[in-house]
Assembly symmetry: C2
């Protein structure tokens, strides 16, 4: 494996000059630069990222915290982030977080101190955990939050308007004639859950309709199993809803499953809407009407924000909030309310 020293030797310059050429630094004469370039090519030289990391006192990677992969939200973000990193010549280093924060604390500290991670992308629900953010701040880790509920004044945030999206879902159902709409809420730890529920309620007010029956809002946890329980509760009602808006696609899929088990025909007997446009949304029958988030754009912007921050250390103080555009994807799981 060629080192900077070998290149220097071959090019007849000092290692420092090779370093300068690599980093487009300061003034190096065109002739020298060319000679160094040639030597690098001839030796198939690749700078050692670990050594750079030691010198720079930072790992050559952006950190990401990954929890439970079920639901696919996190998986899709992770994949999109890898693509974005690739395009920006960066690397991603993932650390597992499962269970409660207390359990992670040491691990995250180790991730940051031992692993030398100085930049991190935080996903829901971790992006909303104040103690975690405090811990990272304490270690001077630059964070970019993807989809936090309340943007952080100290970290750039890539957000989407969960409330507006939920309102659009309900308006779509209104337009199909549904009035009695059930809602299976998300995991109480995810702040997005509250936003979606609020959006659900607001749609009624915005349409000048009476406040929806509180019994139509049942708790959930974003899991398939939780969705099953929620759907059962709603469909067991004496006066069941004609449409159900689940706070994510997994629970919506569970709702479809439960309804079909009971012999209901979708969407004729029941309309179902999810949230996230997870792969499962298009993989079940009927395919799910849902809200799509622009992951590619979000992750691309997250990395861009980190780049900008690196380029200008002052940026952290005026953390930007970047709003991304969601969209309602209408598929087969929603239809007009049945007459009668």
């Amino acid at each position: 494996m060629a080192t900077i020293h070998d290149v220097a030797l071959r090019a007849g310059v000092s290692p420092k000059t090779v370093s300068r050429v690599m980093n487009d630094h300061e003034s190096v004469s065109a002739k020298t630069r060319e000679r160094v370039r040639l030597a690098m090519q001839a030796l198939d030289y690749h700078p050692n990222a670990v050594a750079r990391g030691l010198r720079a006192q930072a790992a050559p990677a952006v950190g990401i915290l990954m929890g439970d992969p079920s639901g696919g939200y996190q998986t899709r973000i992770h994949h999109a982030l890898m693509v974005a990193c690739l395009q920006n010549g960066r690397h991603l280093s993932a650390e597992l977080v499962e269970g409660d924060l207390a359990g992670w604390q040491d691990r995250i500290r180790a991730f940051v101190t031992e692993g030398g991670i100085r930049e991190m992308v935080l996903l829901p629900p971790e992006c909303d955990f104040a103690p975690l953010k405090a811990l990272l701040r304490e270690h001077d880790v630059r964070c970019v939050l993807i989809s936090p509920t309340s943007p952080d004044s100290l970290s750039p945030s890539i957000v989407m308007d969960d409330r507006a999206a939920a309102r659009e879902v309900v308006e779509h159902l209104f337009s199909l004639g549904h009035e009695r709409i059930g809602h299976i809420a998300g995991h109480p730890d995810h702040a997005a859950s509250t936003l979606r529920r609020n959006g659900f309620n607001e749609a009624y007010a915005a349409a000048g309709k009476p406040r929806p029956d509180p019994a139509l809002i049942v708790p959930g946890d974003f899991s398939f199993k939780g969705g099953l329980a929620g759907a059962q509760a709603l469909l067991d009602m004496d006066d069941p809803p004609t449409a159900i808006f689940a706070a994510n696609d997994d629970m919506a899929a569970a709702t479809c499953m439960e309804a079909q088990r009971r012999g209901l025909k979708l969407p004729d007997d029941l309309s179902v809407v999810g949230f996230d446009d997870a792969p499962i949304a298009a993989a079940i029958w009927p395919s799910l009407t849902t809200i799509r988030q622009p992951f590619d754009q979000m992750t691309q912007r997250a990395i861009t924000a980190l780049n900008a921050w690196s380029a200008n250390a002052a940026l952290g103080k005026a953390a930007a909030t970047i709003l991304t555009q969601h969209s309602l994807v209408i598929r087969e799981s929603t239809g007009p309310v049945r007459a009668g």
Copy 2:
């Protein structure tokens, strides 16, 4: 951030001694050892993994190549590997591979040379790509293959018996009275596809039945969309099968969707079996009968193999093949063939 030097100062010893204590090396008197331990605790010292990596000429992480996350197979392995790494005090570093090998080659080379990755876990389909393995070998990267089709004499392999599993699927269908069974094959690039198809055929021979109608085997690609096309082809036949065995769960889910679109009642009108026990298998209605692979065990063993290899460099030469046990998970998508 405390360094080894700070600890040494506080403990009144040399940095080297602190290093020895950390690595349980050679002889350090109990008293000194204790003093160093105390100093480490007092300073909340954590060794810098980047510096260690530079010294050791290796990144402090195990590499993994990740392609398209759809289907969830890779995602689940990745998650299980993170858990296994955590338990073994290691880290995982993922690199994206999409498109053809030619495109990756440089990236993987950079991953290995710049990133300093010296150990890697290879998943399907990459674990079956000879040029990739040659490239990695050339750079002295220790690889463990998860589920390769033909174990590699130079790398430990964690395998499962795809053929036997496929046979079990067909035998299960036989036991329910099905004779006319369709098969949607997997992606031709994945060697497992062939194994599963062979297992499918072998089951007929093993049961003393005539060779299945070749028209009942249609091509697929492991994607939901491909499954849809396969199911359409099978269900459009003049004499459609009474059961369909798809080479993975995504295609099985697609088969269910297509069948339901056509008004078929599952499993009464059609039995469906998948492969992998992906989350979607339990998330659709009817839930899928499928083959489960023991991911936790597989990944745990992969890391164990790397540990053993590190401990004894000679191991690489006598690469072990570790067989893991799959199981048939019977759910709601399979039932007795309808009389008539």
